[in-house]
Subunit: 263 residues, 4 copies
């Protein structure tokens, strides 16, 4: 224990043993309300947006105008090739995944996406894309929050909209109809690694789908594996966020109103 206890003990001895005996019972009585107030530093202020628009401290990743915040995953030095029109952008089949130019660690992300009204196909072949919470390499390397049409379209539970793909099913299916906009509000905590590259703490994610909780601080087992078991093998830090050009023949899906707040 700390040394100045001794002063207290010495004083207690001077005051007689009654002082020691009373200490425990008087503990609460002796405290004052202001002793558990924490004043500094002052909490910073943000101005919240109206109707899900970005708060003042967010980085806007897409505001309806252009893909300036995004690059091609195949070659991050080149611009994203997807189509921007009418305030939304749409997957351009065959141009590959796109990812943010900036990298992030822990964050809150808001993103809206829409399955085309005239979607066709079934199961995983119906409006498939994906939000990689952290891209850790080319192609589909990373942690995928599934995007697919799950409105009256059954697939495996850990592969439907809102699943951590091939890992954890959503708590509930809160999907809107094709043609309507879906919203993901995501709170992501990146994994941390030790100096030797082994895992210190796994990634975690909380997701609200159209305002409904579908992932509650879910622990990720590792980067998404289409075949086999997910496992953390490679240490990484900040990473881009990535959207998938899935390549199936169904109509391409669209995105809008994307903003992020590093935590």
């Amino acid at each position: 224990m700390q040394k100045n206890t001794l002063t207290f003990i010495a004083i207690s001895l001077l005051l007689g043993s009654a002082a020691i005996a009373q200490a425990p019972s008087q503990e609460k009585a002796q405290m004052k309300p202001e002793m558990t107030e924490s004043w500094e530093p002052e909490v910073k202020v943000t101005t919240p947006g109206a109707n899900s628009s970005a708060p003042s401290d967010a980085i806007v990743l897409f505001d309806g105008k252009n893909l300036d915040q995004w690059a091609s995953t195949n070659d991050p030095q080149t611009p994203a090739q997807w189509t921007v029109a009418n305030g939304v952008f749409t997957v351009k089949k065959g141009t590959g995944n796109i990812q943010t130019k900036e990298s992030f660690l822990d964050y809150q992300l808001h993103i809206e996406w829409r399955i085309p009204e005239k979607i066709t196909g079934t199961g995983q072949g119906r409006g498939n894309s994906g939000l990689f919470l952290a891209s850790i390499g080319k192609g589909d390397a990373g942690y995928e929050l599934q995007i697919v049409d799950s409105y009256n379209n059954r697939t495996y539970a850990n592969g439907q909209a809102g699943s951590i793909y091939k890992q954890t099913r959503p708590l509930i299916n809160a999907m809107r109809k094709p043609g309507e906009w879906n919203v993901y509000d995501v709170i992501f905590t990146a994994p941390r690694f030790k100096e030797d590259g082994s895992l210190f703490s796994p990634a975690r994610v909380t997701v609200l789908h159209n305002g409904v909780l579908i992932q509650n601080n879910t622990e990720l087992r590792g980067p998404t594996q289409y075949i086999g078991l997910a496992e953390y093998k490679t240490a990484h830090g900040k990473s881009p966020i990535k959207l998938q050009d899935h390549g199936d023949p169904s109509e391409p899906i669209s995105f809008r109103n994307i903003w992020i707040r590093p935590l």
Copy 2:
């Protein structure tokens, strides 16, 4: 290990040591995509609400009409005495706290609240109320998520809007102006206790304030203490949710659009 490994070992011996040697490297190759699909049980469906209204699987605690879901905390057998008008309800000073008739454990809660446009007072004396995530007794016993006017009104950080009162400050101040509606979206995990009444796992809470993350799976140290240190002392299970009639002389605050989804 499990006994039928032996069969595998036996077969391996028949096949020669090459079979054993190859096992590790062939592991991934041998798996098929469908082996990590999880189909059953089917994920249940909810219909999300529009504009923050209740999804189809929520319990509506206030829909603008009456306080039928609420009782007086002083005497839970009697109705809540607060005022309902124009689709909102308002604290009626001096009638005491009110709480839900139903009890909850883990849940997602949506609640909207408004500081009066003509609010007066400063610090804790300006538009003070509180949302008790679990009421564990009369008066103010429970876990309080602070409600107070924090728009240009400084107080101690762990006592401002969005704080776990006297415990944990919000990550950021996302308060709207007096007269505008604030929203709390809350994900609460109740504490769990052992058979002997000691704590097994603390309560946890995630809060979005006007869509901005202010508490991220925050661990609660115990029921709120105005004086002294919070500590888990009494085991409890499902509990009502409670709103505070604070008693300070400022204008009373109002609430609307409250719904909950047990998790």
Copy 3:
């Protein structure tokens, strides 16, 4: 916040605004050492054992004399059939698993086990048994901490001594030679389930093998699966602890000095 703040505020107003301004900076200065002392209730006392023998508050599961604390897993109404001699007990091949008569939830367990000096076989076929941290059914149902000869006997890492079988490899291989006694000191936290049977919190385990840390609060993914992926499917509470009669043709292993402290 709590209502009596108001008194403080009122007093502060009387004293003038200086009182409020000073509150934050004086916080620490105002506290006294005894305010963070916690006296009640008094911590209970146990008398530690010498040389890894049971402390006074432990339940002795085997003290060298008989298997009175154990039953057959196949029929828990019948006695355990394994052999007791020279202060140790030894697997009796073909009689099946044995388990404690008493059930446990969270606990600290000490157990010693010995691979026969003249062990034969390789891989999983060399001195194989298992400690089921919680038995949740007949046969090998439960959470298995692997027991096998891992001294110069390679097998898959998540199947060697000290692994959570088919889940998590030990941090290091701290195995003693065949013929010498090995020790497991285990701290087990049972899984908890919700009312609807779904998982609330996974099982966790810390293991020292011969005094060396090999599992550090490791999260278990579900009951052990020899084939396929572990997953929590069935809620359970207190459970017996179980030892495995593996059935491979190698010499049977022995146990001694087993005690447990419910936590």
Copy 4:
């Protein structure tokens, strides 16, 4: 989801819808035992010590001969001044705390300590020292695991032997008599911080006292505070381990057999 699902879907279509329908139910049947084996990399080997002596992969911090691994906390460039005799070292009152020359992050530590047989004093004034799990500055800055005589010597519970001083009481009092050797086996996980210096994850500690569990993955609230509330204020990485020269007038305590394994 991953793109090559499409191949599977295409094949499924060729095979007819029966293939899809069967996929879920056949999942487990299709897996093979070796698919959940993890072989690489091979788990490293350590040779465990006999009778609590250091395993082969440990760093020996004191082997009975000298304090070469220790320095003065007041001036880490100067040698530790405590007394070495008869295979143990003893606090030399007035020379100040001592600390390891090497710094550590996460680790397993074994340390033995002895209250003098002829100890005098009461409460905190009876055989007081302390093990700082991480020293984060001069004097007593750091995370203190309390060392004091708690054999028939009551003090506040969060200040007795085995407590996280002024934070968390031990689960049980496993103290040996003055004159006998006590053992702490400690598993420490250092706190992690974000780039901006704020806390990412708190420190955690598991402690066995004479083989009895007294701290079970306990979360530390911050560096030890003799007065006031513990709180993480300053980011730090690897730190020395520190022993306290407490300064009270009771007989000085002794230490022996100290080793550490970085994790």
